[in-house]
């Protein structure tokens, strides 16, 4: 969707909707949904008996309740589902209080940990979630319950917005920044890791000095990765380590963070086939909690 726009707006990442073709809706006993409205991206996940059935990932608009409706509406598209079919809906994220059709809201940390647990299983203990305007470091247990949590939403350094800015500056489509940053042979020194505004100014200076786009990108990505790693180290990095959110697909960040922490992250599963999409981890967790809460209400 909107593929033509991506050519000129380098920072605009692709929105998408997916349906798991193999699942049968008719046999489903419990149908739930999780809607995660972030400051930059909105995600909705529909589950049948606790398994992902369909989901959507789109850009949050100026009104968060409209974005919530749109995201869920899109996840429902071509499924034949109506709002009445849902047993329980949980809203979460930055705008979680503005998910009008939700039965209740749950803090995003709980949803992210639960979602990571669903995607990678009970061995996950450390989650790095890089959102549009925040970075979260989460420690969880084998059930996906939060043990320790830290969020930095004061500062753009290390967030998705920081990545959009460099993509825009260097005129590289955001889906490619990871790959391009890894094409350098020697990793250059990082720019300022403490402020995106200063990092951008430094990047401009490096370009003027004759640095290639790839080298500048590598330097910037390293700085962002340092910032993300610092937050993880604050809560402590325990195996297994995973990365969720928009940056989970950015191999430039993934490799650098692994390198700085000295720990590999679990690979991203094939979301199209399994429904386990790290970008939608929060919404997945919300949909799972929706099922648990529904079951609890029936007892």
């Amino acid at each position: 969707m909107g593929n033509n726009e991506e050519k000129t707006e380098y920072w605009r990442w692709g929105e998408y909707q997916r349906i798991m073709s193999r699942r049968e809706l008719n046999t489903a006993e419990i149908i739930t949904a999780g809607v995660d409205v972030g400051s930059v991206g909105s995600k909705a996940v529909i589950m049948t008996d606790g398994n992902v059935y369909s989901w959507s990932v789109m850009r949050t608009g100026s009104n968060s309740s409209d974005s919530a409706k749109k995201a869920l509406g899109w996840a429902m598209e071509d499924t034949g589902l109506t709002l009445k079919d849902f047993n329980y809906i949980v809203g979460t994220g930055y705008g979680r209080v503005n998910v009008p059709m939700a039965n209740r809201a749950i803090t995003e940390i709980a949803c992210h940990a639960k979602g990571a647990n669903y995607i990678w299983g009970p061995t996950v203990r450390t989650v790095l979630d890089v959102g549009g305007q925040d970075v979260k470091a989460i420690r969880c247990d084998q059930k996906g319950k939060v043990v320790s949590f830290l969020m930095n939403d004061k500062c753009a350094a290390g967030t998705g917005r920081g990545m959009e800015i460099i993509a825009d500056l260097l005129k590289i489509p955001i889906e490619d920044v990871g790959k391009v940053s890894l094409s350098v042979t020697d990793e250059p020194k990082p720019v300022s890791s403490t402020c995106v505004v200063f990092a951008k100014t430094e990047a401009v200076g490096l370009l003027r000095k004759g640095w290639s786009k790839e080298k500048v990108l590598a330097s910037y990505m390293r700085a962002m990765s340092i910032r993300m790693s610092e937050l993880i180290e604050k809560v402590g990095c325990e195996r297994e380590f995973v990365i969720t959110g928009g940056q989970s697909k950015n191999i430039g960040i993934v490799q650098r963070v692994e390198n700085i922490l000295g720990m590999k992250s679990l690979p991203v599963p094939n979301a199209e086939e399994t429904g386990r999409d790290p970008v939608a981890a929060g919404a997945i967790g919300a949909a799972l909690y929706a099922k648990a809460l529904y079951e609890k209400s029936q007892r």
Binding site: S62, Q133, C155, A156, R161, S192, C195, V196, V197, F198
Partner: protein, 262 residues
């Protein structure tokens, strides 16, 4: 008796002041560009010309500022805090707190009546507390930097914006403009946010009147109004606040020149 020069190597501009017997003879500024040392030497040349002096007349040059290392022609250096304290006391004998808001950094300095720095606090490495914030917002609002102040003074209220980060504020401004939020109220929100940050910083030091405001941002009436509201006190501002650092450095240079003559 002493003819001295002060060179303030800021993050955007270099400011040079020449003083003779405690009087300001001339002051010049130059954008640093890609060759900061050259820019500084050029500014010094112009200041000399304006003062009708030659390089040999200057007994001592003291440099200050974030880029102080690049003023290789200086005889000595002084910290920005020390320079601010000297300048504050020079401009206003009653000055006890000097607030300096520059392009990338904001500082507050406590001093005594002799302009000796007693304590200081710095807000560095975050663009949200300094002039860069205002510049970025002027671009986002598509107004001239000089017009931001008067724009904000027209507003009765401040729009809600995420002011903890320049980048987040920019996104907020874009969506606010989309929703036809008046630019006056957005401008006011920006100055209020900066004033809050600066005053929180000053409060860490303790408010000791009289308070003097210097640095490039001090010329902005919108920022001054917001800061006065926040601090709840009067604020003294010298005529050319941008040159305070250089004035302070020139005063230090004069003292050092006098000492060497003895």
């Amino acid at each position: 008796m002493a003819i001295s020069a002060g060179v303030d190597m800021g993050t955007q501009r270099v400011k040079v002041v020449i003083m003779k017997d405690g009087q300001i003879m001339s002051q010049t500024q130059n954008f640093l560009g890609f060759e900061p040392t050259k820019a500084a030497e050029q500014a010094l040349k112009e200041a000399l010309k304006k003062a009708k002096l030659s390089r040999e007349d200057i007994q001592h040059i003291t440099a200050t500022g974030a880029g102080v290392d690049m003023a290789s022609f200086a005889d000595s250096t002084v910290s920005m805090m020390g320079a601010d304290a000297q300048a504050g006391a020079y401009f206003f004998g009653s000055a006890r707190t000097v607030i300096d808001v520059g392009a990338e950094e904001a500082r507050a300095v406590n001093c005594n009546e002799k302009g000796v720095m007693l304590d200081f606090v710095v807000n560095a490495r975050c663009a949200a507390g300094a002039g860069t914030f205002i510049e970025a917002m002027a671009r986002a609002l598509e107004v001239e930097l000089e017009d931001m102040g008067s724009l904000s003074l027209q507003a009765e209220r401040a729009s809600p914006i995420n002011a903890s980060c320049v980048i987040f504020a920019e996104s907020d401004v874009v969506s606010l403009i989309h929703r036809d939020e008046p630019k006056t109220e957005i401008a006011r929100a920006i100055f209020d946010a900066m004033a809050e940050r600066v005053s929180s910083m000053v409060l860490r030091l303790g408010i000791n009147p009289d308070i003097v405001l210097v640095g490039g941002v001090a010329k902005d009436a919108g920022f001054v109004a917001s800061l006065k509201r926040r601090l709840g006190t009067e604020i003294l501002i010298p005529e050319a606040p941008l040159f305070a650092g250089a004035v302070g450095a020139a005063l230090v240079a004069a003292k050092r020149a006098a000492r060497r003559q003895q």
